[in-house]
C-alpha cells in the first residue's frame, strides 16, 4: 500500500481518525481496490465504524495488490494487499491537532513498510519539514459489520448542525438516548435506566420538527435507544466536514446506521447497536438453556437470540434471521468481560455443505458449540485465524454434537482463496470451560489436519462469495505468519445469521 493524501484533504482524514478514536481502540487499515478503509469497533462490540476513502480522495493511491506479502507458504498466490491494525492511540498522535495539520501539512504519505513491518505515516509540512511516524501494526483479518442500509424502512437525513444542537441538550454523562420516530413527530429523549431510581433522575425530551430534516421517511413507528457517545463522535465528524448525516434504522434491537457520504471522495458508515425492548424478545428458545437468564439481565434483548435460534434450527429457518448483528445492543460490563474470556475459544462459522461426512459431524458440533457460546449473549463472535487454527487442534467433547445443521461457510473474506482453505479446517470449538487454552493434539486432530490440507487443494478455485461479504462482521487473517504467537491472536470474527439464499 502506498498512498498520498493531498493537503486539502488532510483535515478530513484527521477528523476521521479522531472520530474513530472515540469509538474503538484499534484502527483497522485495509487498502482495497476501491479505496482505503479505516475501521474500528468498540470494546463492547456494540458500535462499528468504517470510513472508505476512494482513490479520488488521494493524490496517489495504490492499494498494494499484486505485491507479494511476506511469503508464508499458505499465502502464495495472495493477491490482496495486506490488512493490518494499529493502536488508535498511535495513530491519533499523527493526527492529534487537526488545526496544525491543516495549517502546515502539504501532503501525507501512508505506506506499508514490509521490510520493517511498520505502517508509515509521513507528513510533508511546509518549509520542507518531514515528520515520519513508524507505527507498529498487527496483521489481521477484515473487520466487517454485517448490516444493510437499504432495507431499512426508516430513514432520516439531517444537517450535522441540527443533530448537534439537539444532542447538546443532553448531559455529558448521559449514556444513551432514545429516538422516537413517528410520521408527524421526531422525539429525542434521554434513556433512563431502571436503576438506581428513575424518579431521581432528570428526564430530558426534545422535539424536532420533521420539516427541519433534509429528508424523512418513516416506514414503521419506532423507538430506538443507542449510545450517545458514539453518536457524538459521528456528529463531530459531520459537523467538521459540514456534511449531512443520514440515519437508517428499523425497530428496537436492530442496528441503526449513520452514514455520511461525500459524493466521490469518501463515505463513512457507523453502525450502532440499539437496545431491544422486551416486546421484541422472541420466545421459543428451549434449546437455549441460558437464554431466560441472560435476557433478564437487563431488559434488553439482543439479536443474538435470534441468531442462536437460527443456528439451532434448520437452515430454512435462517430465512427469518437477518442481515446484521453488529452486536449486542447493550453489553453490560460483565458481558463484555465474558466476550474477552471467550474470545480465544471462539470459533468461526459453519462449513460448506459439500464437505465429507467427517466434516459434517464436526460442523454439527461446531454449531452446537456455537449455540452454546451464543448463549453467552453474543452474536458477534470474533476470533482470529490463529485461534481458530489452534482451536481446531483441540479435541471436541462428543456431547457437544447435538443438532444437525449445515450451512454455507459464511466468513467474510476479502481473500477468498486462502481463507476458504482455512475455513475448512476451522470448524471445531473447544469446550467453554474454565480452561479453554489447553491444546492437546490427539489422533483425531491429526486426521483433521490432513483433511484440511486436502481441502486446501480443492478450494482455491472457489469463486469468492461476494454476497457474504456484507453478511459478516468478521475478520479473516490473510496471513498465518503469527500463528505461532498467541500474543497477537485477538483477531475477531463476528458471526451473523445465514441469509435466505441458503435455504
Amino acid at each position: 500500500m502506498n498512498c498520498v493524501i493531498p493537503g486539502v484533504n488532510i483535515k478530513v482524514f484527521g477528523r476521521a481518525v479522531q472520530s474513530l478514536s472515540k469509538i474503538g481502540e484499534e484502527l483497522y487499515v485495509e487498502p482495497l481496490e476501491h479505496g482505503l478503509a479505516l475501521r474500528t469497533v468498540n470494546s463492547s462490540r456494540s458500535a462499528y465504524a468504517c470510513f472508505l476513502f476512494a482513490p479520488s480522495f488521494f493524490q496517489h493511491y495504490d492499494d498494494g495488490s499484486g505485491q507479494t506479502t511476506n511469503g508464508s507458504g499458505k499465502e502464495e498466490g495472495e493477491e490482496e494487499a495486506i490488512r493490518c491494525k494499529i493502536t488508535m492511540k498511535s495513530c491519533l498522535t499523527v493526527f492529534k491537532s487537526v488545526y496544525t495539520l491543516e495549517k502546515t501539512v502539504e501532503r501525507c504519505k501512508i505506506k506499508l513498510d514490509m521490510t520493517e513491518s511498520r505502517l508509515v505515516f509521513q507528513l510533508h509540512c511546509r518549509h520542507g519539514i518531514v515528520k515520519t511516524h513508524n507505527l507498529a501494526f498487527i496483521e489481521c483479518e477484515t473487520l466487517q459489520a454485517v448490516f444493510s442500509k437499504d432495507m431499512c424502512p426508516n430513514s432520516l437525513t439531517a444537517s450535522a448542525r441540527l443533530l448537534c444542537d439537539a444532542v447538546q441538550n443532553f448531559q455529558n454523562n448521559q449514556e444513551e438516548v432514545t429516538l422516537i420516530v413517528k410520521p408527524d413527530k421526531i422525539l429525542l429523549k434521554n434513556y433512563v435506566e431502571d436503576e438506581p431510581d428513575p424518579t431521581k433522575v432528570m428526564h430530558t425530551e426534545l422535539r424536532l420538527e420533521p420539516e427541519e430534516f433534509d429528508n424523512i421517511q418513516v416506514g414503521v413507528d419506532s423507538e430506538i435507544t443507542f449510545c450517545l457517545k458514539e453518536m457524538r463522535a459521528i456528529l463531530a465528524f459531520s459537523e467538521a466536514t459540514n456534511l449531512p448525516v443520514s440515519l437508517k434504522f428499523e425497530t428496537a434491537g436492530r442496528p441503526i446506521v449513520f452514514s455520511i457520504d461525500s459524493d466521490s471522495a469518501f463515505e463513512a458508515n457507523f453502525v450502532l447497536a440499539t437496545l431491544a425492548d422486551t416486546m421484541t424478545q422472541q420466545g421459543g428458545s428451549s434449546n437455549v438453556p441460558t437464554e431466560s437468564k441472560t435476557s433478564q439481565k437487563r431488559k434488553h434483548t439482543s439479536n443474538s437470540r435470534t441468531s442462536v435460534k437460527a443456528i439451532n434450527k434448520s437452515q430454512t429457518s435462517r430465512k427469518e434471521t437477518e442481515s446484521m448483528n453488529i452486536g449486542r445492543a447493550n453489553e453490560t460490563e460483565e458481558q463484555s468481560v465474558r466476550i474477552n474470556e471467550h474470545e480465544d475459544s471462539f470459533l468461526s462459522r459453519r462449513k460448506p455443505n459439500n464437505k465429507s461426512p467427517d466434516h459434517e459431524g464436526r460442523s454439527n458440533r461446531l454449531n452446537a458449540a456455537l449455540s452454546e457460546l451464543m448463549n453467552d449473549d453474543m452474536d458477534d463472535i470474533m476470533l482470529d485465524q490463529e485461534t481458530r487454527e489452534e482451536i481446531s487442534k483441540q479435541p471436541i467433547p462428543p456431547e457437544l454434537g447435538t443438532k444437525s445443521v449445515s450451512g454455507r461457510d459464511r466468513i467474510t473474506t476479502r481473500s477468498p482463496v486462502p481463507s476458504t482453505s482455512r475455513e475448512n479446517i476451522s470448524p471445531l470449538i473447544p469446550l467453554q470451560s474454565s480452561k479453554p487454552q489447553i491444546f492437546n493434539i490427539t489422533t483425531e486432530d491429526v486426521e483433521m489436519k490432513e483433511n484440511e490440507e486436502e481441502e486446501e487443494e480443492l478450494v482455491p478455485g472457489t469463486p469468492p462469495s461476494k454476497r457474504f461479504r456484507s453478511m459478516f462482521f468478521g475478520s479473516q487473517s490473510s496471513t498465518i505468519t503469527q500463528s505461532s504467537q498467541r500474543t497477537v491472536t485477538k483477531e475477531l470474527s463476528v458471526l451473523a445469521e445465514d441469509t435466505d439464499d441458503e435455504g
Binding site: R161, L162, D165, A166, Q168, N169, Q171, P198, T199, K200, V201, M202, H203, T204, E205, L206, R207, L208, E209, E211, E212
Partner: protein, 281 residues
Amino acid sequence: MRFRGKLIDVSCIQHFTRVLGTISKIIKSCVLRITPSTWYFILSEKVISGGIQIWCELPQGHFFDEYAMDGVSAEDNEIYLEVVPENLIKALRTAQAAKWIKIKLTKKHAPCLTVEVDLPTVSAHSRLVVHDVPVSVVPHRMWPDYQEPKLPKFDVSICMPQIKTLKNIVEKMKNLNNCLTLAANYNGELKLSVSTDMVSVSTHYQDLINPVKRDKDSDENREPQEFSEAKIDIRRFAQFLSGQQVIPNRVVCNIVHKRVVHFYLQHEDVSLQYFMPVIAT
C-alpha cells in the same frame, strides 16, 4: 399546589442561571421555597452534619415575566420543594439563547420542576426541549425547619475585598492547612491566616469599610483595633469563594468572636447569606 413561571428576557435568563450556578456550586441539595413574591433557596444543616446555613432570596419580579402560584392552602400560600440545584443548572445550560423558558411544577413520573426551553433554530421552527427535574415536596410540618436564620449580634462586620483576589490567596493557603483564621476589626482591617508547625502565613487587608459602625455603648470594653476572629474550614471557604458566578455588589463578612462567621452577599435584589460553621479552638 401549582406553580408556573416564564422567563423571557435574555439578561434575566442569564442572571438567573448565574445565581443558580452560584448556589449549585456551594450546595448539593437544598430546599426551594416558592412564595408569591420570592424564590428562596434554603439550606439548613443540623450542626451534626456540618452546620452550614444558607439563605438565598430571589425576588421573582426580577426574573420572571409571568409568575403564577398556588400554595398548599390560602393561608399558607407557599411551596417547599427539595431540589438539586445542579439539575436545574443542567437544564438551563443550553438555554442561554432561549426565546423563553417556562418553569412549572408538574407531576410526571415523580413531582418535577419542568423546565421548558424554546430554543432558536436556524430555520423558523421552534425547538422545544423539556427537562423534568425531579423534586420532592417538603411536607407542611417540616416547614419550621426552614425559617430564616436569626442574626446574632456581631462583634464586627466588614466589607470583603474582591472575591477573586481573595480566592487566589485562599487557594494557596489551602495547601498549607485545613483551617484558616479569619479576623477583622472596626479599623477596616481583615486578616486571613493559616499556620502549621512549620510556617505561619497571614494576609492583611487594610482600609476596608465597616458597614456598621461600632456600637459605642455595648462595645465600650473593646477597642476599634481589637480583632474578632474565627477559625473556619478552608476548603469550604475556598469552595464558597470559587463558586461565585455573579460578581456581587457587596460582600459583607460578619464575625462573632470564635462563634459565628456569616457572609452576606448582595447583588441588585438578590441576596445570599451563608453561615459558615466555626471550628472550635
